[in-house]
Subunit: 347 residues, 4 copies
């Protein structure tokens, strides 16, 4: 049984594990004040070609979203997100638990645009309603799509004009930046957003998200918020060591590239067999729409999740590849899929 | 420069690191629904000789305190803690951030008693004040002291009579259960409290606290709360693997015993040189009261924290040992200390 | 300039003002523990023909919604509301400020049905999402519509089957219960919901909402929550005195009937002039869709609010009548409207 | 049975009731945007001789404290209060329910000083602890004492130097400003604090606190916060009308003076009979320490509250007078008290 459920089924890349072992019996300063974390921050600053940022390494994505958004907003302020945004759907109301409404707009492709944001602004006119103050986007999105440079520039200009903070959830930033469709650099993202993060958990680290704050208003006292939300790791050097490895020798990009390549093999297979997709993704999440009978047959040998019911006979499912996805497993899947597709879809 | 700042300066015990490496390239189910976590829970249940409990493995202590307390209380309810309790002082108002007042009593030794709790109850008489509903204690306490079986039985009986949940923070439970003064077992703690946790972070794991819920009212929907507070680790199997190691072959107790033994060597040294202590601790935290001149001299070779100013010339400082404290480092310290004490305290 | 903006433009009915004057120089027990409040509760119990309820008199509606919902839900739980629900739109994120997500469904008429609720339930399947636990409805709704007995019975049965609390916001309950379309009694509402309130502010009191809790799980410690949210009026007897008047001699119903009658005159006028409506309301809020030119002309003599842009030339506007709406003002409006409608709509 | 429990047992001064009646059948703009509120604000500005302030009229004191403090603080920030502060003890954890810790210092007289505040600051050194950002004081205090101009100037200078907002709870500001010991004006208070309020509830209004914000950082979006906390009164003109009366023709001061005078008669009586006091108050709250036998005898004819047990035979009790306290009732009390004191205290 091979599992395409997600990109966090395995531990970490061997180079990361090796680095953790190497440092394990040395004494480090606690709470992310150690030298590995310092070095990791330097590497990230080099990556984005800027020095005027605050960087915090945090264990998980929901935590990072919660801390960042609650640190930025006053009690009556709200965050705008696409309806499919992770903070809206899959974080158990974490943002609301910190007191803030998530205002959503339905989107065709998981992406926000100035027009969509304007619709929300138009509706919020006085003190009887919450005040939109931040925009939350993901790259890649929760359905595998990604922002182009032009799209992000437009969003950024719009948000700055309207006094909205722009926050980019980069839990799958590696997949975005290494996909065929990408024309963004990490430096672009730093330039165009007010705060964003670089996902480690879903790209080969044991855990860890590298939060980069560029807007000066979002910087003060951030470590207080990390601690208050229970997110200040005692052995913070574990995060530093992992991000050092990610940004030494291109490992972050290499792992994401591998995940995307494996996904492209799957995508080609689904396409060649004549299936369509829920979204246009060239990244490590693929959402083919398959006949339910074929899905059932595949599940005898493979794990993958349902995404959305399409009709009585078809479901969009989700296949996720990762840094750890084995080429031979993908080859076997291609072969199995073609055989089963012939059987279940021939008539 | 050797560091006695805390018990989380190093990574993890080699057996734990080895287990993490072994499992790193295997696929696991996410979010703590994997087989290692299942097995770790079985081992803990065996340890406490009970099967009717819910167990959750959570990354950090502040997080665990926050989730447990906010899951248990209604909005108007409060938790009673000793003034020195970790939730009162060192968690950046985490409990208040979830809406709950921490009611404190000063204590001579960091421990609560029925009498001290009654004083708080006496003061809270109607709906104009918060309603005390939970009691929070730590074992060992933040100043190295510990509860006896008789003390815990008295507290437990009192709390049950008053309808108060009893929650034991066991961030340093290993140190408590392996100290010379201990007459408690983990099964006693499970029997006498409503919820408690077994600290991994401060006892040789990379991170991880094993929360054990015995009271049925505290069990429902707990995973929702873990997720909402951003504490559901994607690669939850990392916690499972570590707790498997901790509770296989007695590693949890062996590591804590070593920490205590190293501390006893320090304690003996301080005593023999004629120094007194801020608290009566036979566990891995020692708080000698030293002359400031001696402290300054020691700091040329050793790191340790200030705990409390005693008078113009004396300060209580904190020395912490751990599973990783090296015997030769302690021996060197003893020798250095005796020399310096002779010099600075001779007159 | 006559104002149809809302039903809280004037003070209170003269009988209520008189009662307040009468009691003003007498000493009363504070915090709603006085004899007037006691008597008012008895009158309400008689009205709903039940004695096994808890009643609290609270100053305002947003407050009452906030207290009731936050008292009922655990941190991970959410409330389901129609998209037009007052708690979703017009309370500045009050429910979210207490930590809870408001889950909404679009509705044609401002009313929830079992089918609509089921759609929300279907989507919330595990601990990565909030847990729906309460259903919020308004009667009359925010767009003037109302529930029939059959509809409320269906909702009630559904909610009980699914373990959802049913909460009815009765800020305009008087208008609902006295409209031509009504087949509900206040006793029905008490029987079919778990908690509801009787609006005083929008029906002739200076302020005040009478909250009736029927479900035993929602009763404990409610006064703590009232106090904590800053809603325990020091001179709570002011609420008691007003509700005594409302439920002595049928004043509550008489005032609401008057408001509805005045609205029916407006409705007939709009209809006769050939205009359609945003919603089918026979209560004190009317939402005619009017040409923008006519609206501009009307605004020279009358105040009323915009509700929704329909197209470039038409807007749905809101006319609200109340206990205090003067018959001669309505007559004058009818005459003015017909004249203007002739002018602006003749071609 | 005459009641000295508090200063909010009666309704409102006849002039206030008369004004409410006069305006009751007129149409007013809702939500405190009416002309009476506008006028009341002008009167208050005249009183404090400043125009550069924001003023909000809010129903109750707990509400006002909650809104003001939660509007001012970021999530990790805390408010410093005397241990006896109303927000610490008698508001059911309202401040904590909004996420903020109340840091307290014991005081001999219910008043904070720079030294006491410095003790709290000294203790809060890094991001593992909350960050003190606001100082909360009451004038008069909860035990009837009051600040002198010199004391308030010292506090103000200290807070400004330390970057702490200074917030004065004036629920009983009338009593403070009209007492024999007073050397402050309302203009002084506006000058020396960042935000304060003028209590109506405890000084002859039906309800209402006039919040005056002088610090520019505390002004933005304040009405959003009022609404979100459920404190925006639909018929806000009721507040405006009352504050107009309070600040026309000196009514606010006259009522408070009367309350203080009546209290001075009580104080003189207690003193002449040889009793001491819990606090040195020349305002409308008096806390004599009386023998329990005498207390029991007094309670046959008078209501008053216990404040604090002194020893087995003595209790400090609280007598409160108000604008409505009748001179003949006080005369009767004096006579009764002297008789009973003779009987119960003769030996």
């Amino acid at each position: 049984m091979y599992c395409f459920n997600n990109d966090y089924s395995e531990g970490a890349h061997p180079r990361i594990m090796e680095a953790l072992i190497q440092a394990s019996l040395t004494q480090h300063t606690g709470y992310s004040l150690d030298s590995h974390t310092e070095h990791a921050k330097e590497l990230i600053k080099k990556e984005i070609q800027r020095d005027d940022v605050d960087i915090h390494l945090i264990v998980g994505g929901t935590q990072t979203n919660l801390i960042t958004i609650s640190a930025a907003l006053r009690p009556h302020q709200a965050v705008i997100a696409p309806e499919t945004g992770h903070i809206n759907v899959h974080e158990t109301g974490s943002i609301e638990s910190a007191g803030h409404k998530v205002l959503t707009q339905p989107t065709p492709d998981g992406k926000l645009t100035p027009n969509l944001i304007q619709k929300t602004l138009d509706f919020h006119t006085d003190e009887h309603m919450v005040q939109p103050k931040m925009v939350y986007i993901s790259n890649t999105t929760e359905i595998g799509t990604q922002y182009t440079l032009a799209e992000l520039e437009a969003l950024s200009a719009f948000c700055r004009q309207k006094g909205l903070y722009l926050f980019l959830d980069g839990a799958r930033l590696g997949a975005a930046l290494t996909s065929l469709a990408n024309d963004l650099t990490m430096a672009d993202i730093a330039r165009l957003t007010d705060v964003f993060y670089i996902g480690g958990t879903k790209n080969g680290a044991l855990f860890g998200e590298g939060l980069v704050i560029t807007h000066p208003d979002l910087k003060p006292d951030f470590r207080f918020l990390i601690k208050q939300k229970g997110a200040m790791l005692a052995k913070g050097f574990l995060l530093g060591i992992q991000f050092e490895e990610l940004f030494q020798n291109h490992l972050f990009y290499d792992m994401a590239s591998h995940a995307n390549e494996m996904a492209m093999v799957l995508k080609k297979t689904f396409s060649e067999c004549g299936f369509s997709f829920l979204s246009e993704s060239v990244t490590n999440q693929q959402f083919p729409i398959l006949p339910n009978s074929l899905i059932a047959a595949l599940r005898k040998s493979y794990q993958f999740l349902d995404q959305q019911v399409i009709d009585d006979a078809h479901t969009a499912v989700r296949f996720v590849t990762s840094w750890a996805t084995k080429e031979e497993a993908v080859r076997q899947f291609v072969s199995d899929f073609k055989t089963l597709a012939d059987t279940y879809c021939s008539n």
